[in-house]
Amino acid sequence: MSATGIGAPVRRREDGRFITGAGQYTDDLHVEGQVYAVFLRSPYARARITDIDASHALSGEGVLAVLTGDDMRADGIGDIPCGWLVKQKDGSDMVSAPHPPLAHTFVNYVGEPYALVVAKTQDAARHAAERVHTDFEELQPVIDLATATDSVEIHEGVRHNLAYDWELGDRTATEQALADAAHVVRLDLVNNRLIPNAMEPRAAIGRYDAATGEHTLYTTSQNPHLARLILSAFVGIAPEHKLRVVAPDVGGGFGSKIFVYAEEAAVLWAARRLRCPVKWTAERAESFLADAHGRDHLTHVELGLNEHGRFVALKVQTSANLGAYLSTFASSVPTYLYGTLLAGQYKTPNIYVEVHGVYTNTAPVDAYRGAGRPEATYVVERVVEVAAREIGKDPADLRRMNMIQPGDFPYETPVALTYDTGDYEKSLDRALELIDYAGFSARRIEARQRGCLRGIGMSCYIEACGLAPSQLAIQLGAGVGLYESGEVRMNPTGNVTVFTGTHSHGQGHETTFAQVVSDRLGVPFEDVEVVHGDTGRVEFGLGTYGSRSLAVGGSALVKASDKVIAKARIIAAHMMDVGADDVTFDGGVFSVRDSNRSMTIQEVAFAAYVPSNYPLDLEPGLSEKAFYDPENFTYPAGTHIAEVEIDADTGVVRVVDFVAVDDFGHVINPLIVEGQVHGGVAQGLGQALLEHGRYDDYGQLLTGSYMDYCMPRADDVPQFRVDTTTTPCTHNPLGVKGCGEAGAIGSPAAIMNAVTDALGVRDLTMPATSEKVWRAIRGAKGGIR
């Protein structure tokens, strides 16, 4: 392994700009002549807009315009679509209520934008926004997920507030197996609503060039090409070839910056109307109210076991809160990214899941780190844990005896996936060894002497990454393909510019992808530059989400690199006067077999652009594009084990040890991979112990700032212990699986299994705040060990 090749912990090249303050995030951009937008947002969860009086606001100094949802509609701007059409049980299409970028008649959640004020300065825009008088007629909101289907209709014609009633698996067989089971474990679970909180608030700048008709959107996006496609094809802002979307440095996303948002459409539209660039930057309060939230499920699960402890059936019924409108991928998260993962790592022969996708008068809910897979893992790993306790088996042993074995692959689950490879026991064994599972009871006794309740909990998760293949996904309702594009361009002087359709928002693609291409082409790492995040420079792409970038985008770059090598081989063979079959390629050098003649790929590149001695039937140049469409998902999997200590007097929970052993297939840059796990686990810890997006009965967000929404801080998390096992993915050229979400998928169940173990209670809802835990301690008569 070279110091910069595949597998090397290369220090990130993007860090140079970030640690010196030279990063360029959207709000750092200053477009000459820019003016400022402030959005007017609904103060009510559900209301009819009866009047908007902007006269006072418009009289303010520097105020350029107050633009409303009616203005937007009059200009022919279309609705924001949901990009995934889910079919219901009866075969009918899901019901997608219209989602105008700016509300015009009704507002349906607190924070929904219905107008914007544009002024020459930020201050003027803010002041003017205060002076717009809007009359609302309040309507009864629907907030509580549990009762939403029996409440008033939010959207006309959407009966029972149901976007869909969806199912997967064999209901009859599953119910029969449950009826025949020796033991059935039933559990009601809550997957708490989370608010993503990337540290960079969303921002957007719209720009319009009247002379050329070109529109440019600078935005905080994980996938600028998708934004361009949706804004063009559906919202109708501008034709695709007249719209350029640039996402410069993006300060975190975790899913929340996948989606197309109202503000992006509005600044472009306003820029065209006003003939000047319009900039908007969210305040954190707006991020809380109007970024898409995550999770928010209510689930009833039943697990059947036979007399030996083998799982015979799993039945899952879930209500998923989708919020007031279906955000870009909202419909797919609680269905195809959730129900399909309910087999977990186990050979459960009968599985059935039904999901109600429910509208409420809350912010839209969509993909957040893990997106459906943390929810599925939580269901499976909580019910398995409870089962082990109820039948008196060691939780590790019960999991082990039910695991899919290495000889079982490819393994077809009862819920539509085919796992290609894995070795689940190996990760489990390594994690048990790292945590010193056998020594736990001594640690528990020692903790008790200090007044602490110590618990241990594990979670053996699986996820499906790199959603694919396109044709299948489109059959299942996806509105776009799920391939990725890449281009590898050798420049005449021998260095390389790489273009990828994925886009980093912290993952270090500029480093990892350079490692991949430099390794493949045999050119120095320093000579490879990675370009992304600009539809004006990169041909096409679907962006970064679902831990797909390396497995799908990296594979496209391998494919493009191989095309470059293939063409270069022909050129080299011609120049060395032999047949292409006589030329080998290794480490950036083309050599003639059984001879000392050779030339470097850089020499070939020069010849390709200065073709003097060159094959007559070959085009000059050495730049190749590739689209890579995976044949299957990848299936990262692993075991996470948490140990917690609870102060018996205060109920404060501390995660005192955390071990994550993950199988991501081959690892390109272990430094980056470990960092992804650390961050994911911290977010999972946040879900388990700290974070909860809560509304009151009127739909006011109670957790609308960092004073009320508890983000994990440095002193809330422990040092993590991370290791990997490796079964290479069988169907992509790098053998990689994806590592971005595993931490957030595996950890919540591990931590909650540890908390409930420490307390000796069957269940506790996340987040396990000190208050809830304190009450559980007081309520658990004799249950506390």
Partner: protein, 153 residues
């Protein structure tokens, strides 16, 4: 009102409003965009700079309060080819991902190390409690800061 403020060693005379924040003059007037704004409640610490040698959240300091003061921002502590030890440690330990919280985190960490005699894991975590990072889980940030503290000791 007019203020005089020294930023990264250069003196500036600036016309500000009474309600202008220090972070606004850094970002908007001086275009020093390395100092970021991540919240509106003084919680996240992305805007941390040094004011007369102390780490402060520049979203919570009025520009007028900086009149006559010396301010150092992330742009003022080192350059790519001449990094401050804390910047170098952040890169070496992979203590950043998206980079948005990083400038504030580095400025807070420098202050923490300079003003502490003995830093261990727990003390670093407590010392950085006012800076939120959503990407790293703090693991590598703590290691980076400890490495600088150990080098100083």
């Amino acid at each position: 009102m007019e203020i005089t403020v020294t930023v990264n060693g250069r003196s500036h005379r600036l016309d500000v409003s009474p309600n202008t924040l220090l972070v606004d003059i850094l970002r908007e007037q001086l275009r020093l965009t390395g100092t970021h704004v991540g919240c509106d409640t003084s919680q996240c610490g992305a805007c941390t700079v040094h004011l007369n040698g102390d780490a402060v959240k520049s979203c919570t300091v009025l520009a007028g309060q900086a009149d006559g003061a010396s301010v150092v921002t992330i742009e003022g502590i080192g350059a790519v080819d001449d990094l401050h030890p804390m910047q170098a440690a952040f890169r070496e330990h992979h203590a950043l991902q998206c980079g948005f919280c990083t400038p504030g985190m580095i400025m807070a960490a420098i202050d923490l190390v300079e003003k502490s005699d003995h830093l261990d894991d727990a003390a670093v975590r407590e010392g950085l409690e006012g800076n939120i990072c959503r990407c790293t889980g703090y693991h590598n940030i703590v290691n980076a800061v400890l490495s600088v503290a150990e080098a100083k000791a």
